[in-house]
């Protein structure tokens, strides 16, 4: 942890977790094709633990369902996330975690982009992209 024993965000605001996705009749129907949708991607990443706290990204509101965009036909996934505090040095690690989780969990036809919420911090966005490219995944 970068700050030694000092947490960067010692007292985060905790958000409620959304429940499990409800099963529908279509889910059980053998003949229906379920497309990969926003909620499914969100379900994959919401339980990732924050590097600093024993809390999930969802509970810290780092990821939100409406910032997850999927296009199943074009095989595109775009995830924007919001670091808990503006200058969070953990942001790179969070981005990496999301990216790895998705790489492992999605069919390889998908192209992934995970970014900061763009209007918030464009500079980190670029930095993050570099980081991810450098890592041999």
């Amino acid at each position: 942890m970068s700050g030694g024993t000092q947490l960067e965000n010692a007292n985060p605001v905790i958000f409620e977790r959304s429940g499990e996705r409800l099963l529908t009749a279509a889910d059980e129907d053998e003949d229906v094709h379920d497309p990969i949708d926003d909620r499914e991607i969100f379900d994959l990443i919401r339980s990732i633990n924050d590097p600093e706290h024993p809390l999930s990204l969802e509970e810290l509101n780092v990821v939100e369902q409406f910032r997850v965009k999927v296009n199943d036909t074009d095989s595109n996934v775009d995830v924007e996330f919001t670091p808990t505090i503006p200058h969070c040095s953990m942001a790179t690690l969070i981005g990496l975690s999301i990216k790895v989780k998705l790489l492992r969990s999605l069919p390889d036809r998908f192209k992934l982009t995970s970014t900061f919420w763009k209007t918030l911090l464009p500079i980190y966005n670029a930095f993050l992209q570099c980081m991810i490219l450098l890592l041999p995944i």
Binding site: D27, E28, E30, V32, H33, D34, I36, E40, D43, L44, V100, K101, R104, S105, L106, P107, D108, R109, L135, P136, I137
Partner: protein, 1037 residues
């Protein structure tokens, strides 16, 4: 023989020497045996032994003397039971003298003394002299650990046997003990020392002026801070030490003046465990104390307790603090009041109230919970405390509630009020004392009813729990208040839409109905009845949208919940029967679901109603005949008019009705049960309808006779099953022989599936209960012949019927361990090869091994032996394997399916032990394309994989090889099950599964893109877990 001291220095020589002098032939390796045997058999005496040891005991070398004493002590250890009083006296005198010797001789001397204290012939007075010289000559704490333990054990021995003598010693004994344990450090010895201290205190030894010393020497260990080293062989735990020490410290009120300041001091500590221990010790010690012991510390204790509860971070400490407060209040309440002394309890409670009460009325309600908890803890202690606290708090709380507007605040206040009501303690003599809450009761009711009328659902839920706790205070609520309460509940049941509220209301109504049944009879049930029927009337009117089937359903379930008393059940069941009547006649539009629900409510009433004569009569006289009559009408109606179809002839409804009848019959007293059985049998055999209400039936009904087209009548046989199969075993079913043969006929010839299955089940239920004997044998003989005959005719039209019949009979016999069962099950195994029946038979094994709900269960008083599944499995698994090996290729799936059906139902412990033998067969089963085989095999593999036996690990290659292709099977259930198995595989020992990692990850990429979301979810989980294999914390990518 001349032996120098140097030669004596070697152990073997020393012993040899001693024994040579005793003229005993010595083998060095056998000397232990000899020395025991010699003394025991009287070959030599202790005196001779001492004389023989003479040289060494009188040696100038202290080491030699020590060895001499050691030998003597060890010999005594073996034979202390045989010593005479005279010998003991001499030995004690010798040992006492030796205590003054060089320090190296002390340990063996102590050992010898300890042995001597165990002697039954210990002369009186010697215990005291031992102790005197022990305390005088030995400094215990400078001894080694085992020797100190030896001293403590000696003390325990003496205390157990010579209590009177020790008490004569007076405070000197306590002083000696205090001196000897002062500074003890080892936990093993501390346990012993605490035991001694506890005995001193509890057995009333005179502490004299050493009370403080004894307290000091034990309390210095408080609070215990001890962590046993890892893999500690002695197994001493912190809890043990804490418990022993607490017994010592809390054992006497004489310690109060020392202990209470110590506790107050330790409560200031930062260590959580110290706080917890202190609070628990406090709660334990005040149980013995009186007011005078506590008086001067009350203020300090209260300040610490308040601080702990207000500022605590841990729930444990909070609850320990509250328990301590309860204990203190309890202690103060014990004091007998007399006119001249001040009232300690009210003084203490005044202090508590002064500190807590104002928090209850602060605007932001921030500290309301801790203060309320403290007050409730005090309130809980005694009746008098309850009076004082509630009188001071409740009016204020109610006023608060009325003045607040915010719902969340009001709910908090209501919850606080509810806890207070719960914690009020009733007095022991309820006749002559006023109820604690009686003064405040009207306003409490006001508040509760007002909250029940609110729109906020959480407020309503809290209000119902307040109401429940109010009613639990016996005799508190007046009749008019209860009526009002029931009124409110009824209103909520009928109007509210919130699920949480209706759940709470239904639960509250259930509790209330048990205590005040009359109000429910006069108020609730008529209202519910009105609503059930009026709502449905409206249906054809314009208020169609407003009709809520939910309300009606809730009404039906409330009727079931409130009917725990027979008198309520007598009122509620007619309503339910009326609903069924209406559903049958079709006048008011009740759907099939509602009819089923009404029937289900009847079943719940049958289960829960108190078992009295009245309730039995009610079911026997009214409910069962009416139900039968309705079912019969529905069945006959189908015959006559083809216009309307009664929902009561539906299978779903009939099976619920079977449940009602069978539950009711299984709980009837035997006389009524016999009558009911007689009625049923005469109805079904002779068409006797005389006991049915609504006398409009044709006179010649033949329900069991096989009329090909009237399946509605023939399926009624399931009701017969519900009755006769659930009777207690003592009740005789009349006309058994005729009944059995008609049932057999029906189950072998009828063409309607429900009818012939029910007939077979009914037959099986009866056969299961027939006592062993000629009658049973002849029945079985006849039945078996018929079944086998029908089954062997390949062209027979009724083979399916005969098979169904056979499997139910086989189950009935299997459950009671009847030997004939084997013939039938063997036939089943041979039928696995059958062209038509093979797959059905394989499924049948699942029926054979599982519990059926409506018949042949323990609830129906059936004869079910324990572990019949294991027995069946162990007797038949080899047959199955053999059959599989010789079967033609296309029949093998049947065997595999049968196997997995059987294994699936076995308890897990048996599965794990039996599986290695069958593993290759199960793995084989995975390769068969039949998806039900795959599915049931996977479901029995999954728990085994989660806890893998070594045999499975050896087959890992085959297992992985077969599981991976299944992840792209055509059906999603197989895919999901196989993915779960692969997930479970990742928990295997890492070095076993790591070689498969790449292969599995590659194969799992395919189901990640599956079209079904559920499959993808399992795949993601399994793949994620496999990625992490071999990388601690999942750091490698």
């Amino acid at each position: 023989m001349l032996l120098t001291e140097e030669l004596l220095a070697t152990e073997e020589f020393f012993f040899c020497f001693v024994f040579l002098r005793l003229r005993i032939r010595v083998r060095v390796d056998g000397f232990m045996w000899i020395r025991i045997k010699g003394l025991k058999n009287g070959e030599f005496t202790v005196q001779q032994l001492v004389e023989a040891l003479g040289l060494s005991l009188t040696s100038t070398q202290p080491q030699t003397r020590a060895r001499g004493v050691k030998l003597l002590s060890e010999v005594l250890q073996e034979c202390y039971g045989d010593l005479t009083e005279k010998e003991v006296e001499v030995l004690i005198a010798f040992y006492e003298n030796r205590l003054k010797d060089h320090h190296v001789t002390t340990p063996p001397v102590l050992q010898g003394l300890r042995t001597l204290t165990q002697c039954p012939t210990l002369p009186s007075g010697s215990a005291v002299s031992i102790l005197k010289s022990l305390f005088q000559d030995v400094h215990v704490q400078s001894l080694l650990l085992p020797d100190r333990a030896c001293v403590y054990k000696m003390l325990i021995n003496i205390m157990d046997t010579r209590e009177a003598e020790l008490k004569g010693l007076g405070a000197d004994f306590v002083f000696g003990f205090v001196q000897s344990m002062d500074g003890e450090r080892d936990p093993r010895n501390l346990l012993l020392a605490f035991q001694i201290a506890r005995k001193i205190i509890h057995r009333g030894y005179n502490l004299g002026k050493f009370t403080e010393e004894l307290f000091e020497v034990t309390s210095c260990y408080f609070p215990i801070d001890f962590t046993p080293p890892p893999n500690d062989p002695h197994g001493i735990t912190r809890e043990e030490l804490i418990k022993e020490l607490r017994h010592v410290l809390t054992g006497t009120p004489k310690f109060a003046e020392f202990l209470l300041p110590l506790i107050i001091e330790k409560l200031d500590s930062d260590v959580q465990s110290a706080k917890l221990d202190s609070l628990q010790t406090l709660a334990a010690c005040v149980a013995l104390y009186e007011h005078k012991d506590l008086a001067e510390f009350l203020e300090g204790l209260w300040a610490s307790l308040r601080r702990e509860v207000f500022q605590t971070s841990s729930e444990k400490i909070e609850s320990a603090g509250l328990a301590a407060l309860t204990a203190i209040t309890c202690c103060l309440s014990r004091k007998v009041l007399n006119s001249d002394s001040e009232d300690a309890l009210s003084a203490f409670l005044d202090m508590v109230l002064k500190d807590c009460k104002h928090h209850l009325s602060e605007p932001d309600l921030k500290l309301v919970w801790p203060s309320a908890k403290l007050l409730q803890a005090a309130c809980r202690a005694s009746n008098r405390a309850s009076h004082i606290v509630t009188a001071a708090v409740m009016p204020a709380l109610i006023e608060q509630y009325n003045s607040r507007n915010q719902c969340s605040h009001r709910r908090t206040l209501l919850e606080v009020i509810q806890r207070f009501i719960q914690s009020v303690k009733g007095s022991e003599s309820p006749e002559n004392e006023e109820q604690v809450l009686s003064g405040i009761c009207p306003s409490l009711c006001c508040v509760t009813f007002a909250a029940l009328s609110e729109t906020n659902s959480s407020l309503q839920v809290t209000a119902t729990s307040v109401l429940s706790s109010l009613t639990k205070q016996t005799g508190l609520l007046s009749n008019s208040q209860i009526e009002l309460a029931v009124d409110h509940l009824a209103r909520l049941v009928l109007s509210d839409e919130d699920d949480a509220v209706s759940l709470a209301v239904v639960a509250c109504a259930g509790g209330l109905a048990e205590l005040h049944p009359t109000v429910f009879i006069t108020n609730m049930i008529p209202r519910i009845k009105r609503v059930i029927f009026s709502e449905s009337m409206k249906q054809d009117g314009e208020s169609m949208q407003n009709t809520q089937p939910a309300v009606r359903q809730r009404c039906l379930s409330v009727l079931a919940v409130v009917s725990t008393k027979p008198c309520v059940a007598q009122e509620s069941t007619p309503v339910l029967l009326e609903v069924l009547n209406a559903a049958h006649s079709g006048e008011v539009g009740f759907s099939l679901e509602e009819a089923v629900l009404a029937c289900h409510s009847l079943k719940r009433i049958a289960e829960r109603v108190e078992d009295t004569k009245d309730s039995g009569r009610c079911f026997h006289d009214i409910i069962i005949p009416q139900l039968l009559s309705l079912a019969l009408q529905a069945a006959l109606q189908g015959e006559n008019s083809s216009t309307r179809h009664s929902p009561l002839a539906e299978e779903a409804f009939l099976s619920t009705m079977v449940a009602v009848i069978s539950t009711a019959c299984s709980r009837l007293q035997s006389k009524l049960a016999g009558q009911t059985a007689e009625r049923f049998v005469s109805l079904f055999l002779d068409g006797d309808v005389s006991f049915l209400p609504g006398n409009s039936f044709p006179s010649h009904i033949k329900l069991l006779a096989n009329q090909q087209d009237s399946w509605k009548q023939s399926q009624m046989v399931c009701l017969l099953m519900g009755c006769v199969c659930s009777l207690p075993r003592t009740v005789m079913v009349p006309q058994m022989e005729r009944l059995l043969s008609e049932l057999e006929e029906m189950s072998c010839t009828c063409s309607h599936p429900m009818s012939y299955t029910s007939a077979a089940k009914c037959f099986a239920g009866l056969v299961n209960k027939i006592p062993q004997g000629d009658f049973l044998d002849s029945v079985l003989q006849k039945t078996m012949t018929r079944i086998l005959c029908e089954l062997n005719l390949a062209a027979s039209r009724v083979r399916t019927q005969a098979y169904t019949f056979m499997i139910w009979v086989a189950k009935a016999l299997l459950l009671r361990y009847h030997p004939t069962c084997t013939t039938l099950t063997d036939k089943m195994f041979s039928l696995l090869d059958d062209a038509d029946l093979g797959p059905v038979v394989a499924d049948g094994f699942s029926l054979l091994m599982s519990d059926s709900a409506d018949v042949l269960s323990r609830g129906c008083h059936a004869d079910v032996r324990i572990m019949y599944r294991q027995r069946f499995f162990s007797e038949n698994s080899t047959k199955l394997v053999q059959g599989f090996n010789v079967a033609p290729q296309e029949k093998k799936p049947n065997y595999l399916k049968a196997l997995s059906n059987i294994v699936n139902k076995l308890p897990k412990q048996v599965q794990v032990t039996e599986l290695p033998a069958l593993l290759s067969l199960l793995l084989e089963a995975l390769t068969y394309p039949d998806q039900s085989v795959q599915l049931s095999t996977l479901s029995c593999l999954e728990p085994v994989i989660a806890d893998p036996p070594p045999a499975l690990i050896q087959q890992l290659e085959a297992l992985v090889g077969r599981l991976l292709p299944l992840t792209s099977a055509p059906t999603m259930k197989v895919k999901i099950a196989s993915l779960r198995c692969i997930y479970a595989l990742s928990r295997f020992p890492e070095h076993e599964v790591l070689p498969f990692r790449a292969r599995v990850l590659h194969a799992l990429a395919t189901p990640l893109g599956d079209k079904k979301r559920l499959v993808r979810r399992e795949a993601v989980q399994a793949r994620g877990e496999w990625f992490l294999l071999g990388s601690p914390g999942g750091s490698s990518l």
